[in-house]
Structures are given as C-alpha cells and as structure tokens.
Amino acid sequence: MAFSDEQVQRYSRHILLKGVGGKGQRKLLNARVLVVGAGGLGSPISLYLAAAGVGHLGIVDPDTVELSNLQRQIIHHTSDVGKAKVQSAARKIADLNPDVEVIPYEQRLDAENILDIISGYDFVVEGTDNFPTKFLVNDACILSDKPFNQGGILRFQGQTMTHVPGSASYRCVYREPPPPGSVPTCSEAGVLGAIAGMLGTIQATETLKYLLGIGDLLVNRILFFDALSMQTRVVDVKPTEWAEPAASNTKIDRLVEYEQPACDLNLERQYGPKGDAT
C-alpha cells in the first residue's frame, strides 16, 4: 500500500521518527484498537489515536453527553449535549482524520457481550469511571490474552498500567473492587479537567508504543502522578498467581459483574445517570 501525497504530509512527523517511519505508520493504519469509555480519558485517547492514523477505532460508551462532561471530555462540544457520546466522538474523528474507521458501541460492556466485542481488536484501552467495568475489562482481556491499558483519575491524581499476556494486571494491584462507598467517584470528589488530558495522553502513548513495537511499556509497573505536587512515581508490580487465568478457583477463570457501589446509585438518583465522571 503506497501512501497518498496527503498521507505523506499528514503523517510526515511520524515517518520522520526513527523507529516509526513508513513501516510503523502502516502498522498504525492497519491497527484495530478498542477504546472503552468516551469520557474524560476516552476523549484524548481517541483523538490522539485518530490523529495518529490508527485505522480502526472501536468506541464503547452507553451514555449521552451532559453539560457537566464538557469541563474535561474534550471530544464533546456544547452542541452535542443530549447526543450519544459514541456518535459525538465518531463525528469529531471523521472530521479530524478520514483515514480512521470508527466502530461505535452505544452500550455498556457486560459479561455477556465483552468477549465478543474485544475479540476483533489488537489492543484495548480502558478509561471508564467505575470499578465494575475496570475489573470486567481486566478479566476479559486476561481470559482472551488481549493486551490492554487501564487508566483512572480522581481529583488531581492519575494512575495507569499496561498489560500484555503474562504480565501483572489491575488485579495484582487491587484484588477486588473497593467496598461500596469507600472510594469516592469523580462525581462526588471532583476532578481537575486537565488531569484527564495528562493521563489520557499517556494511555494513548502506551497504545501507540504497543502497536509500533517500540520502547518500554508500563508492563509490570504502575505509574502514578499527582498534579498538585507535579510528582510522578512508577512502582514495580509483580504478577500474582491469582491474577492469571487458569483452572484454579483462585485465578481468573470467569467474568464477574460487580454491583455498582451503593453510593453511586444514590448519586444517580440525586444528580442524574452515572457514567458522567470520567
């Protein structure tokens, strides 16, 4: 496949890079990435992946755009309020880069649909606002030998790690979701909008590194940053036996749908549908 003149111009800054070049750019154009969540993290992730020319982007989000999202979910604009997030995101991406095919999933991932959805992708990036989805994505990717990156933000802090088959995962750091009510969500505690950009761009970078096969991924490591002190820490994580898929009942061998924490359900009644945090 030869590049068109427009593609040579559009991707020239990638082609210039040692370690990327035309070969790397072709890998990106042929790649399939699933972005879980079109919110605070999903916005920069999908915008940067689309700009980079990742050819096929699946985007999962069941929610519609709310006014309170716009402080950080930069793929959505004021005129999108009330529209499905995946449709709003798809339109921005089509405008940004016509080379990118968007596959929208206007639905919540659950134990029934997740294995089927992720099976068509090379890499999964997770940027949702709730623990049940984080654990579901983690377990489903491990069961499917699917590499993925997870990210989370709250207040002024963020954390992210990348998993490839056999490496440590989210469950090696957090064995179970926290007890309902013990960890506040973004809609309770707040989040500085720009934090979503800081972490989301790290997640997009990890995804691109994986697709290009360059550099050292955040594998068996978790990155934390605190924007107030502007300190970053990278902590080694050992893969634990119970976090790997296998027959033993101490390992991941099935998908679990955790209950939504009770506080979130209360919040939902008070402030509207959840999913409005990240």
Binding site: F3, V8, Q9, S12, I15, L16, K18, G21, G22, K23
Partner: protein, 230 residues
C-alpha cells in the same frame, strides 16, 4: 589541560592568500588533521558571498569530510576571513557557531592575526591558542579506498527525483523509498535545493544508512545512499 591548535606556517600563508583573493567577501574552508595538529587545508565556497558572514557549501562540506577520512584524519577547524575587522568572533559568528566540537579559526586582513575559538552550547566563547610551526608534518598520500572503488560503479536500484520538493518532504520521501528497497540496495535521490542537499544525507546517515556519494550538477544534487537496514 589547555587546548591549542598547531598550524604550519605555510597553511596560515595559504589562508591569508585565499582571504586576499576573495576580499571583500569572507573566505572560508576546513582544516584537517589529528590531535590538535593541522595537516592540511581545504578551501570551500562561501555560498553567501558576503563581506560579513559565510555559509559552507553542503556538497563541499561532504567532500571535505570524505577527504579528511581518506587521510585517516578529522576536520579540526572551520576557518574564515575577516576582510575589514579584527580576528575575533563577531555576534554573527557566535550565533552561527553550532558545533561545540570544532575550532573556529579567524584570519583577519585588518590586523593580520589568526586566532582560534571554541563556542559551547551556551554560546560562551573560549579562545584556543594557535601555535604556528615552520613546516607541515609528513602526511601519507591518500589512497583510493576499497569503499571508493566500490562506489565508482555502484548500480542504482531506484532513482527518485524530488525536484521541486522541500524539507522535510525530501527526507520523508527518501526514507519511504528506502524502506521499499532490500538491505544493500541503492537509492539515488535528486534534490534541487541546498537545504535538502545538506539535510537529506545527514538524516539518512543518522538512520544508519550509508551515504555512497553526494554530487552536484547544474543546480541539482544527486544523493546516492545504500539501504543499511539489518
């Protein structure tokens, strides 16, 4: 250890002669040698043809580098003349002094002096004293290397004419074309501006490819490069 540059009298005389011949414009060139001792001089064209500043011709720079290598030597210094001002670094000289690893030698027709300077990345200037010695040390005659014999009849696997293209697209397109070739195959790129003639070989070389030759003909530059991908 205080650094110094040892230059034979006859080379200083030759620089002075070139400076007079090219006045009122600045004259320029390279000094090659080893371990702070200059063994030879290479006259270059000041493409600016200006009395106040100079720019080396990229094709000649490349040829000079190859000549120094042929002698098993390095380019120790860039020299230029100051037709009307003393032998010291002008603001323009300091601004354009991008290589902290080279000595900048200035020969002044105004005060007759020849002085050397080094400029670091912070643009601070340190003088490098010049010691003038009576005669040039013996250097062995350059021999045609195996490499050069090989390049004389290098078959070209692909010819890419990038006339009309500018940086960075000249390099981008050269890189894309090289990726299509097998390791060891040879690409010849034609460019028509000196910026590309300077940038394309340098960038390809940084990517690890072998620049076989750079030739100039009728306002165009022919860059011959061998794909060195493992």
């Amino acid at each position: 250890m205080s650094e110094r540059l040892v230059i034979p009298q006859e080379i200083i005389a030759a620089i002075a002669e070139q400076a007079v011949a090219e006045a009122p414009n600045e004259a320029c060139g390279y000094l090659r040698g080893l371990e702070g001792r200059v063994h030879g001089r290479m006259e270059l064209t000041n493409v600016d043809a200006s009395p106040e500043h100079f720019t080396l011709d990229p094709q000649e720079q490349f040829a000079a580098l190859k000549e120094a290598r042929r002698y098993g030597e390095q380019l120790l210094a860039v020299y230029h003349s100051h037709p009307e001002t003393p032998a010291r670094m002008s603001d323009e000289d300091i601004r354009l002094a991008n290589d902290p690893k080279t000595v900048y030698v200035i020969h002044s027709l105004a005060d007759g002096r020849t002085r050397g300077f080094r400029v670091d990345r912070t643009r601070s200037v340190v003088e490098v004293p010049i010691e003038i010695v009576p005669a040039a040390p013996e250097t062995t005659n350059p021999e045609t290397t195996k490499e050069e014999k090989a390049m004389a009849d290098t078959p070209i696997d692909r010819d890419l004419d990038l006339s009309g293209e500018v940086c960075p697209y000249t390099f981008v397109k050269s890189k894309l074309a090289l990726e299509e070739l097998d390791p060891g195959q040879v690409l010849r790129v034609t460019v028509d501006n000196s910026e590309s003639a300077s940038n394309v070989p340098r960038s390809l070389s940084l990517e690890g490819h072998d620049i076989v030759s750079l030739e100039q003909a009728r306002g165009k530059w022919l860059i011959t490069v061998r794909n060195a991908d493992a």
